[in-house]
Amino acid sequence: MNPSRIALLVAGLLAGTAAAADIKIGIAEALTGGAAQYGVAIRNGFQLAADEINAKGGVNGNKVVLVIEDEQGKKEEGITVFKKLIFQDKVLMIFGPTLSNSMFAAGPVANAAKTVAFGTSNTANGITDIGPYIFRNSVMESDVLPVTVASAVKHYGIKKVAVMYGNDDAFTKSGYDVFKKVLEDQKIPVTTTETYVKGDVDFKAQLTKIKAGSPDAIVCSCLAEEAANIIVQARGLGLKAPFIGGNGFNSPKMFEVSKLAGEGTFVGSPWANTNPTPVNQHFVAAYKQKYSSDPNQFSAQGYDALYIAADALKSVKLSGNIEADRQALRDALPKVSINGATGPFKFRAAAGKDGKPAGFDADQKPFIYIIQGGKFTLFSGK
């Protein structure tokens, strides 16, 4: 074979790879285990977004390929999966893991490897303090809860509340810490603070105690599964005070146990099913068509997250050198500003601890809901 033909061949190969390069993106979510109800919704959001992006010709002509791994909602699995995605699959960036707990464990691995780890469902405080390669589009509880509590207090004329939370989970515990601070800031006395652990199904002992203090409302940092049972058992005990929920209440599961027990509950959410913007209405309809089930906040955030990454990638010229490309994507991400299913989105640099470099949090306004007639209804102020 003569040299010119070899050169031609090489050129052809290069051109071929350049034209059809795949953008490999790692998805590490809990697809089995207790957190799978969130992880599966998130993955669905990603797949929907990837299909849409690829159907429109990908990003700058490059196809988005999702490498999906199950981190089972466990810290150890989170680390293993992150290592596999970064060093073996050589993905450009990783979305996930599902739980804040796992991000605290796996995030440092990605940060050390100078690879972006982008959480779509990690709302605990301190996540982005892990390092400059940690991003999230999940709105922190500390941005949502003050608004939720203030709205409920105004609506009901609340004087004192009882608090209930799960104390063995980073998400519900961190939600509790925020609630505690908000209640102190807004000077609302707490009659009693009760806890439970994951897997508990009987909350009557705690609720009986709460009832004895006759609070005007019950502040609850719980996941939807437990929240639904807590509310039903509270009503069974004759406890009629309304609930004020954290992010965990944002699920249609609230109505599965009992359609009407949750009436009057206040919840804050980064996403509103009924938000009439065209992007959101398109997302809701497309999700329903693809999965024949309703999307939730977690799928919406997954969906938006991929569009955020795609937007950043538009301005990145991929060199084929994985380290350089990862760094270029990292540097492009903070500038992204899109209009997604969850509304207008941009990043905000995290303050960081002790002056160490930190990552980026979401800068978004929450929606406040009140549960009425067995549905989340946008709360309009009074």
């Binding site: 089995t32 285990g33 207790g34 799978a36 109800q37 599966v40 104390n167 009760e194 806890t195 439970y196 652990v197 897997g199 508990d200 199904v201 009987d202 009557k204 002992a205 705690q206 009986t208 105690k209 009832k211 004895a212 599964e225 639904a228 049972n229 039903v232 069974g236 005990l237 004759g238 599961k253 599965e256 146990v257 009992s258 359609k259």
Partner: protein, 293 residues
């Protein structure tokens, strides 16, 4: 508040006792700590929920289905696994470890079949109605659970003490070899015991998931931990022990949540368990197993 907490404790205690009944029965007769009891319990919940929701069957049919399906799984575990281990005279720990494997298989299968999301009975299928006496609220379902626990315990107790079958089972519990020399069909009774114990576990699962209405593939695990505590406390293999142990654990848990701190519920309950075992190492009703040493 105290009256309500007593009622809460009685319901929770009955739930534990109901779960522990089958668990302790298997240990009493087969001398196997069957760690798949939690998984079988979970299968019972799904069986009842499926029959009730898919085929729109009445609730009692759901309970029967839970008993039948769980019972058959228990029987299968005995025939496929435990029987072979017995035939090879495997030491005590082996069947216990094997049942951990069974748990993993059943739990994963349930995950694959039903998904990990919490399944629930439709609200309108649940027996409605609650009773209010003064400040105390009790739901009809909770009364049902208390009644069924006590009823099943009474039936089992009667069967073991007063019937020929019970005598045979007690003979086996004493010594399978001697029982077989006396002409008792030991293998057959092992199968029957495995079936019955699993059926009891299944109906416990169905009743408990009716009460708390949250069915997941993982619901058996926390229950199993409590169940182990209950049968150790009550005395391994003792039917009365399962009831008393269950009630004890329920009361200890609820009372410590109510009067000490909800953070301390399990700590206090298991601390008390430890104290009881210091005084009575073989549990409340257990006999000292000196011959086996």
């Amino acid at each position: 508040m105290l009256e309500q907490q007593l009622v809460n404790a009685l319901t929770l205690g009955s739930v534990y006792a109901l779960f522990a009944l089958g668990f302790t029965l298997v240990f009493g007769v087969l001398a196997v700590i069957n760690l798949s009891h939690g998984a079988v319990f979970m299968v019972g919940s799904y069986a009842a929920a499926l029959v009730v929701t898919r085929f729109e069957a009445p609730l009692w049919v759901g309970l029967l289905a839970a008993m039948a399906i769980s019972g058959l799984i228990g029987l299968a575990i005995d025939v496929v696994i435990l029987k072979r281990l017995r035939a090879r005279k495997a030491p005590h720990l082996i069947p216990m470890i094997a049942t951990i494997g069974v748990t993993i298989v059943i739990t994963s299968a349930a995950q694959g079949l039903f998904g990990v999301e919490v399944q629930r009975f439709p609200e309108e299928m649940l027996p409605a109605g609650d009773f209010t006496v003064g400040d105390v609220h009790v739901r009809a379902l909770e009364l049902g659970i208390i009644a069924v626990s006590f009823l099943l315990m009474a039936v089992l107790f009667f069967a073991l003490r007063r019937t020929q079958l019970g005598r045979a089972l007690r003979a086996i519990a004493e010594s399978p070899k001697a029982a077989s020399l006396l002409g008792i069909n030991v293998e057959g009774l092992f199968h029957l015991t495995s079936f019955t114990a699993a059926a009891l576990g299944g109906v416990a699962g169905a009743l408990i998931s009716l009460n708390f209405n949250a069915i997941t593939p993982f619901m058996g695990q926390p229950m199993l931990h409590k169940g182990i505590a209950v049968i150790i406390l009550g005395g391994m293999g003792d039917i009365r022990g399962a009831l008393i142990g269950g009630l004890f654990l329920g009361f200890a848990e609820v009372m410590s949540k109510a009067y000490i701190s909800s953070q301390m519920g399990d700590a206090v309950a298991f601390g008390l368990l430890f104290l009881v075992l210091l005084v009575r190492p073989s549990g409340l009703f257990g006999r000292v197993l000196e011959r086996k040493a």
